[in-house]
């Protein structure tokens, strides 16, 4: 139009076009060839790798946590069970804005302090971010409904159903059974992550910890096909979880209850063993705590309240409380003295109320010295030294035996060691020796130290468990049956190898010492100063035979000549009360150690607790065997 005269070279133009279009067609062929090469590379060379990745995409293993083994007491009472609970879980990775999610959540649920803290902690932590971590437990139906109605605007949170450990006896068995706790980041590094996938708790204390492997069971898996959003489309393969083994304990809930009632709110510990098996019949530490809230996480304030409590409720006094044994050590000193020839059944000393080492001015007083001006127990043989708990007799005996003999022989009764099979957290106490003192104190052992050791004072420390073990060894006449919590978990071999004897001790020596201990409880109706120390408190109406020994451990040193007046000193500085016992004397079925912190005199305060525990155990057994009228009336009163 613009140029009027155009002579077009049609043939030439067509020629140019054909040239270009041919080139274009070749280019297209090359490009398509390129595509085929690329696709061929992906589909042939990399085929296997991509098949794997495609399967990885869609196949997921969903852990099916096993149901944890139950824990039963000796009479089949459940001590640890699993209850279904719905919990609010948080998947930190899916949270877009923590503040927004928190605000939304608060509007739907009543978040307690502990839950808020956990959410904050989870948001910060690095490990396991993709995994759901519990935030709130035991949601009610209403809470679940309110959450589900709002779940679209609460990304990163979900409600899951889970079995949660529960301890129906709560504080009563807390220190005996132990408990599980939530798996922490720290635990995560130590455990086999595969075995614990899907499991949120791990045994942290006591039986729960020691038998963790058996209780845990075997994790199962669902191999599922998921879509890109993680929704399960179908289950391809399934491995059913293996439930954990149940554990049967020797522990007897009735004895725990009896001990708990007898303690009457006082601080201390009770341990009872079955001498023939070593089975732990009772293990109580007071004050105690309810382990259940720990499973779902305590708030920081509740936790610090427990931790900082002056009464130390979390502290397991029965296994870890270390105290001077006081006079409860005397039967052992006496036994060693008899066997080693430093004492005889009939040998007597004259007790004026004090003992003095040659060339020293310090007086080692007897316990009744301040109360009676005349002082002393008079003529004392070894049984009287036991049933009157005469200090001077044992000052003298210990002094003559010397520390080396005492230390090496006391060792045979388990002092300074943890004999228990399945209580690794139990403390070993302290059995002093010359070597120990040089090493620990940098000082030489003094003869005065040996004198003090004679009545269980000075450096020696024992736990209630150790005293119960030692009492059981006396009950067994020397056979050592290590303490054990769980029945049927140990082969004969294990038990045999740890089943030893303290050594060859003649019968007369046993009869002398055990006879003395029996008199502690049963010798009564005598003139003043001739009754067994515990008779007035537990011996008057006892329907079976019991051997016992009281002890009173000093908390603070009382300087020489100072009058010890309980009413004037702070309760916390009062002496600890001890009592060890076993019964029936002829064929012992139970051995007990009782410790009352700042409890005062052992016979007066600790012995009734021991009696209550033994009653709870023996009265039933004995009444089943034979039914004396006296005992029957006792049982019916109970």
């Amino acid at each position: 139009m613009a140029e009027p005269l155009i002579i077009k070279d049609h043939r030439g133009e067509a020629q140019i076009y054909i040239e270009r279009v041919t080139l274009g067609a070749i280019l297209v062929a090359v490009l398509f060839g390129l595509l085929l090469m690329r696709i061929g590379y992906l589909q042939f060379v990399r085929h296997d790798a991509f098949v794997t990745r495609s399967d990885e995409n869609r196949m997921q293993l969903v852990a099916k946590p096993p149901s944890r083994g139950l824990i039963f007491d000796a009479e089949g009472q459940i001590l640890a069970e699993n209850l279904p609970a719905r919990q609010l879980v948080m998947i930190p990775e899916q949270i877009r804005s923590l503040d927004e999610s928190l605000a939304g959540l608060r509007s739907v649920l009543d978040l307690d302090e502990a839950a808020e803290e956990r959410i904050q902690d989870l948001a910060k932590r690095r490990a396991r971010r993709f995994e759901a971590a519990p935030v709130m437990y035991n949601l009610t139906d209403e809470e679940v409904a309110r959450f589900e109605a709002n779940r679209m605007r609460l990304p990163g949170f979900a409600v899951r159903a889970e079995l949660l450990r529960h301890y129906p006896r709560a504080a009563l068995t807390a220190h005996a059974v132990g408990s599980v706790r939530m798996i922490t980041d720290e635990d995560q590094r130590l455990i086999d992550a595969a075995a614990y996938s899907g499991t949120s708790h791990i045994g942290k204390l006591g039986v729960e910890r020691f038998y963790e492997d058996a209780l845990l069971g075997g994790v199962g898996f669902d191999q599922v096909e998921v879509n890109a959003k993680g929704r399960v489309m179908q289950v391809v393969n399934r491995q059913v979880p293996r439930r954990g083994d149940s554990i049967n304990l020797y522990l007897n809930t009735r004895l725990q209850k009896a001990a708990d009632a007898a303690m009457a709110g006082r601080r201390g510990a009770v341990v009872a063993l079955e001498p023939s098996t070593g089975g732990v019949l009772a293990l109580l530490s007071k004050p105690s705590y309810d382990p259940n809230p720990f499973l779902t996480g305590l708030s920081r304030s509740a936790f610090s309240q427990l931790v900082n409590s002056r009464d130390l409720p979390l502290f397991n006094r029965a296994l870890q409380g270390q105290y001077e044994p006081g006079s409860t050590l005397k039967p052992f000193i006496g036994l060693i003295g008899l066997v080693a020839g430093y004492a005889t059944t009939d040998g007597v000393i004259e007790d004026q109320g004090w003992f003095r080492l040659e060339g020293e001015t310090r007086l080692y007083r007897d316990w009744n010295w301040t109360k009676r001006d005349s002082g002393g127990h008079g003529r004392v043989h070894i049984q009287k030294a036991l049933y009157r708990s005469c200090n001077v007799f044992f000052y003298d005996l210990a002094h003559r035996m010397g520390i080396d003999l005492l230390s090496s022989q006391l060792d045979r009764f388990g002092f300074g060691q943890n004999l228990a099979i399945d209580l690794p957290e139990a403390k070993r106490g302290l059995l002093p020796s010359q070597a120990w003192k040089r090493e620990a104190r940098g000082a030489d052992w003094r003869p005065g130290d040996t004198v003090n050791l004679g009545i269980g004072q000075g450096d020696m420390l024992v736990t209630p468990m150790q005293m119960a073990q030692a009492a059981a060894i006396l009950a067994n006449r020397g056979r050592i049956q290590p303490a054990v919590m769980a029945k049927d978990r140990w082969t004969e071999d294990t038990l045999e190898s740890s089943n030893r004897s303290v050594g060859p001790i003649p019968d007369w020596a046993w009869e002398t010492i055990i006879g003395g201990m029996k008199k502690v409880v049963h010798r009564g109706n005598q003139r003043f100063g001739e009754n067994g120390t515990a008779w007035a408190y537990i011996g008057r109406d006892i329907p079976y035979t019991m051997a016992g020994k009281s002890g009173t451990a000093q908390v603070v040193g009382i300087s020489q000549g100072e009058v010890y007046d309980e009413s004037l000193i702070d309760e916390r500085f009062r002496k600890h009360a001890w009592f060890i016992a076993f019964a029936p004397v002829e064929q012992p079925l139970i051995a007990v150690a009782v410790l009352l912190e700042n409890g005062g005199g052992g016979s007066e305060n600790a012995a009734p607790v021991a009696r209550a525990v033994i009653d709870a155990y023996l009265l039933d057994i004995l009444s089943a065997e034979f039914v004396p009228s006296e005992m029957q009336s006792l049982a019916s009163i109970r």
Binding site: M1, A2, E3, I6, K8, D9, H10, G12, E13, A14, I16, Y17, I18, E19, R20, V21, G24, A25, V28, A29, L31, F32, L34, L35, L36, R38, I39, G40, L42, Q43, F44, R46, H47, A49, F50, V51, R53, S54, D55, N57, R58, E225, V226, N227, A228, K229, M233
Partner: protein, 378 residues
């Protein structure tokens, strides 16, 4: 629709079909058969890609039918009608592109759609895909070929105006494709190789400058191309999942409806831009080879139609339509296979989608028109 065997057996030259119906309808039997094979194959793949949704397949069939009707309609008019309309259509297209600014609706931060409430909505850039080759073919038809420099400049201006408007929407991918189809017309018109060489050199040299001009998300796409694993759950997701789908397909694929990547939603856009990955996963290498073969035949037929066109307009238009289709196929499969950055280009005749099918069939209609309204010479 029956179809004469003799037209099949005829040589790849001028169609000598004796089928009167097809001749009356002005349809090229060869082109028609190839289109229908690809479309049918595409429907099968779409059925699987859309998780056996019959509604999706029916919607696609509706669009194909509509497109077919458009093709039939266009084919009835001789090509010179479109040549005469070309400048006006072009101006109308430009007008639509400008109207976007006051009237367009914004979706995902860019204005691509023009909506006439209650009547229809469309992308003006889609209209321009045909208007630009039309106007350039019209413009160069009147001039000597190879074009003189000043004609090249005018042609480039005609090309740059709509491209610039589309870039501003912003829609860089479409602008590049439309610009490319325009340049194709110039190349086919016989523009001097020296020019081509110089401008290619210029493009290469100025490429680094573009790096700073483009937007962050575009830069991200290019970086992702070289290393998809740098953000496997974000920008790299699409390409990682599509290569897994392709690679796990192997020689013969996992079987129709058996693709795990697509049916478990790992593959994004599985019925639209990434549909080829579904085909490759389920039908494997054999499926892709078959589809590429069909496309090659389609392109070959288009080339033959263009070579047989009677005038420059017909040649350039047919060539441009044909090669643009080739570019679409290459860019789409290239992007899904991880050799080109991800741009929103559908796979012709197979991807689920409305406007692009219509544009495609209008293009086919133009090819039919160019071919069937020839006066046989020689």
């Amino acid at each position: 629709m029956s179809f004469d065997e003799r037209s099949m057996s005829s040589t790849w030259g001028i169609a000598l079909g004796r089928d009167r119906l097809l001749r009356v309808l002005r349809l090229d039997p060869m082109l028609l058969v190839i289109i229908m094979v690809i479309a049918a194959f595409g429907l099968v793949v779409l059925y699987s890609a859309a998780d056996q949704s019959e509604a999706t397949v029916e919607a696609q069939i509706t669009r194909l039918t509509l497109g077919f009707a458009m093709m039939l309609l266009i084919a009835q008019f001789p090509a010179h009608v479109f040549m005469r309309l070309a400048p006006w259509l072009y101006l109308l297209g430009i007008l639509f592109l400008i109207l976007i600014y006051p009237l367009g609706t914004e979706v995902n931060g860019s204005r691509r759609w023009l909506r006439i409430p209650g009547v229809l909505q469309f992308q003006p850039s889609e209209v321009m895909k045909l208007c630009l080759p039309l106007v350039l073919a019209w413009y160069l038809h009147e001039r000597h070929l190879p074009p003189r420099p000043k004609h090249v400049v005018v042609a480039l201006l005609l090309l740059l105006v709509p491209c610039a408007l589309i870039v501003l929407q912003p829609d860089l991918g479409t602008a590049l494709i439309i610009g490319g189809s325009g340049l194709l017309v110039l190349l086919l018109a016989g523009i001097s190789w020296r020019w081509v060489a110089w401008s290619s050199l210029l493009a290469v040299v100025s490429a680094p400058a573009f790096w700073f001009l483009i937007k962050d998300y575009q830069r991200e796409r290019i970086l992702t191309l070289f290393n998809p694993e740098r953000d496997p759950l974000g920008s790299g997701w699409n390409i990682i999942q599509s290569t897994i789908a392709i690679g796990s397909g192997g020689l013969s694929g996992k079987g129709l409806l058996q693709g795990t990547q697509s049916h478990l939603d790992f593959l994004p856009e599985s019925s639209t831009d990434f549909i080829i990955a579904v085909l490759e996963e389920e039908l494997g290498f054999l499926g892709v080879v078959f589809l590429l073969l069909c496309y090659s035949l389609l392109i070959l037929r288009g080339v033959i139609i263009s070579v047989n066109a009677q005038d420059t307009f017909g040649r350039l238009l047919a060539g441009s339509i044909t090669f643009t289709l080739a570019i679409y196929v290459f860019v789409n499969i290239g992007m899904v296979s991880g050799i080109l950055p991800v741009v929103g280009v559908p796979l012709p005749l197979v991807s689920f989608g409305g406007t692009s099918i219509l544009t495609l069939f209008i293009g086919f209609g133009l090819l039919m028109s160019i071919h069937s309204h020839r006066r046989i010479m020689l």
